[in-house]
């Protein structure tokens, strides 16, 4: 167990004075991710996935339990984590390139030598842009890009400071199916290359099974982890695998657990 990078130890969290009444948005969450692991959390909407994300980033402190990342307890935002949200949330007054450079202006140690090493950073950003298929769009403003392009840029921004941990909060939810599958592969390739930890929160079961090592199913109010499934499909995976018997049976199995949550309550 010593090689676990992210560890939730019986974590519960609620807002306002609800925890005092024993009401939590997420309850008794225990999970572990080994270094370089890719996990996905799936569940119906309103199951506390966003709360879970806020806990992992350190934006919220858990009401009960302990979260450790890299051996240290999480007490606030972590400089070695990158995050992409459901909406692209690019700053409209910055070009794509400047948006991607933003974390380097904020996160230590990059911000101390940002001016000095700017050329090097720009090169890194352009390379990242190229890897997600946005070559030539560096000087465009966000509103000149399509939704899918903005989301790609947003993933670049989450990765520019080479985080050890990438948090994805339904980042492909608002995209059309083809763009979504293309971005799965881009993410998969980046992850294979750089081996950061990924926590992907999603309500798309195929997405979770295709990308993750381990899928956790969360139940609704309170958010609890009701099922854990190791995905033993061989890597490297490509989209063909999503049409195989093994793949669909896993999706089917997970779907069954979500279905039973709904009928159970």
């Amino acid at each position: 167990m010593s090689d676990s990078f992210i560890k939730f130890d019986d974590v519960s969290h609620g807002y306002g004075d609800l925890p005092a009444q024993g009401k939590f948005a997420v309850e008794n969450i225990s999970l572990e991710v080994h270094a370089g692991g890719f996990i996905a959390i799936v569940g119906p909407s309103g199951c506390g996935k966003s709360t879970f994300m806020k806990l992992t980033t350190g934006l919220q402190k858990p009401s009960r339990g302990m979260i450790t990342v890299g051996g240290n307890q999480v007490n606030g935002p972590l400089s070695f984590s990158g995050m992409a949200f459901q909406a692209p949330t690019l700053l409209p007054w910055r070009t794509t390139l400047d948006n991607i450079l933003l974390p380097l202006e904020i996160v230590e140690p990059f911000r101390f030598d940002f001016r000095k090493k700017k050329g090097e950073y720009i090169e890194r950003a352009l390379k990242l842009l190229e890897s997600v298929g946005l070559k030539g769009y560096a000087d465009k403003f966000p509103w000149e890009l399509s939704g899918g392009m903005q989301q790609r840029a947003s993933i670049c921004r989450a990765l520019i400071h080479q985080p050890k941990m990438l948090l994805l909060d339904e980042p492909f939810g608002a995209l059309d199916a083809f763009t979504r599958e293309e971005l799965w592969n881009i993410l998969k390739d980046l992850w294979t290359e750089q081996k950061f930890n990924v926590i992907l929160v999603t309500h798309d079961l195929r997405e979770a099974v295709y990308l993750a090592d381990t899928v956790y199913v969360m139940s609704k109010s309170p958010g609890k982890i009701v099922f854990k499934r190791e995905i033993d499909l061989p890597r490297p995976r490509d989209l063909e695998i999503t049409y195989t018997e093994a793949f669909t049976s896993i999706v089917h199995e997970l779907r069954g657990h979500i279905g039973s949550i709904r009928s159970g309550k």
């Binding site: 980033t57 934006l59 606030g76 935002p77 972590l78 400089s79 984590s81 995050m83 949200f85 909406a87 949330t89 700053l91 409209p92 007054w93 910055r94 933003l102 974390p103 202006e105 904020i106 996160v107 403003f141 509103w143 921004r157 948090l167």
Partner: protein
């Protein structure tokens, strides 16, 4: 097609000239006395004849307005940031500011004269009092309506409150800021002129009063033209800076 474009581009100028022509025609056809309602030509003649006098008074009005306007930018931005970034300051200050803004600023002139004597003092302060409010409200609104998602992007990275204001608050305020400058500069000219009308021996406001009291209406109108030109020039200046600095907010 091309003709129409030229007309559209210069719509303001065309309308202006048309109005002048109609004005001139009415004055000429009905032989309106210049003591009642001077014609554009008479106003033009006075503008030329008294150009040095008008220029001197215009300069006084211009610099007092710009000083008052400068103060209102500083105060308006500071108060705007205070009110916009703190719920407590918003609740405490906003009602008082609204009440203050409802007061007629001309009513302050006699009080300001008691405190500062006649001349530039009351003019500068009246310009300031009348023009800081829109700046303050716009900055406060810009800050108070920042999308929380944008703040989250920075907070996740461990950004401090100060960094969030610099990276998000300030750039987001800019379009609101320039919009408010365009409103505020015209108000500032009103404030200066109103003050000069009752509490100064120089400036366009003074010129208006003295020309009016000696029935030299063409000269009074020439004074109005001068203020109009100054206010419009400043407005255009801010429009140009706005388009350069906040192009992202004016997508086309």
């Amino acid at each position: 097609m091309k003709k129409k474009n030229i007309l559209e581009k210069n719509a303001a100028l065309v309308l202006f000239i048309a109005l002048l022509v109609i004005w001139q025609l009415i004055c000429s056809v009905f032989k309106v006395s210049e003591f009642i309602f001077p014609s554009p030509i008479q106003i033009g003649q006075n503008l030329f004849e008294f150009r040095l006098e008008i220029l001197k008074h215009s300069w006084v009005t211009f610099w007092t307005t710009m000083v008052g306007f400068g103060i209102s930018i500083v105060v308006g931005v500071l108060l705007g940031f205070l009110i916009g970034s703190s719920k407590f300051a918003y609740d405490a200050l906003y009602p008082i500011m609204t009440a203050f803004n409802a007061l007629p600023k001309a009513a302050f002139v006699p009080i300001l004269v008691v405190w500062f004597g006649i001349g530039a003092g009351p003019a500068i302060l009246t310009a300031f009092l009348i023009s800081f409010f829109p700046i303050m409200v716009n900055i406060a609104t810009a800050l108070a309506t920042i999308e929380p998602e944008l703040e989250d992007v920075l907070r996740v990275l461990g950004a401090s409150k100060r960094v969030i204001i610099v990276k998000i608050g300030m750039p987001r305020c800019l379009p609101f800021f320039f919009a408010s400058l365009k409103v505020a500069i015209t108000l500032a000219f009103v404030g200066t002129t109103v003050s000069e009308m009752s509490a100064s021996n120089e400036g366009i406001g003074y010129l208006l009063i003295s020309a009016g009291s000696s029935m030299r209406l063409p000269l009074a109108f020439a004074g109005l033209v001068s203020i109009g030109v100054m206010a419009m020039s400043m407005y255009e200046l801010f429009s140009v800076i706005e388009r350069k600095k906040t192009a992202w907010a004016h997508r086309s």
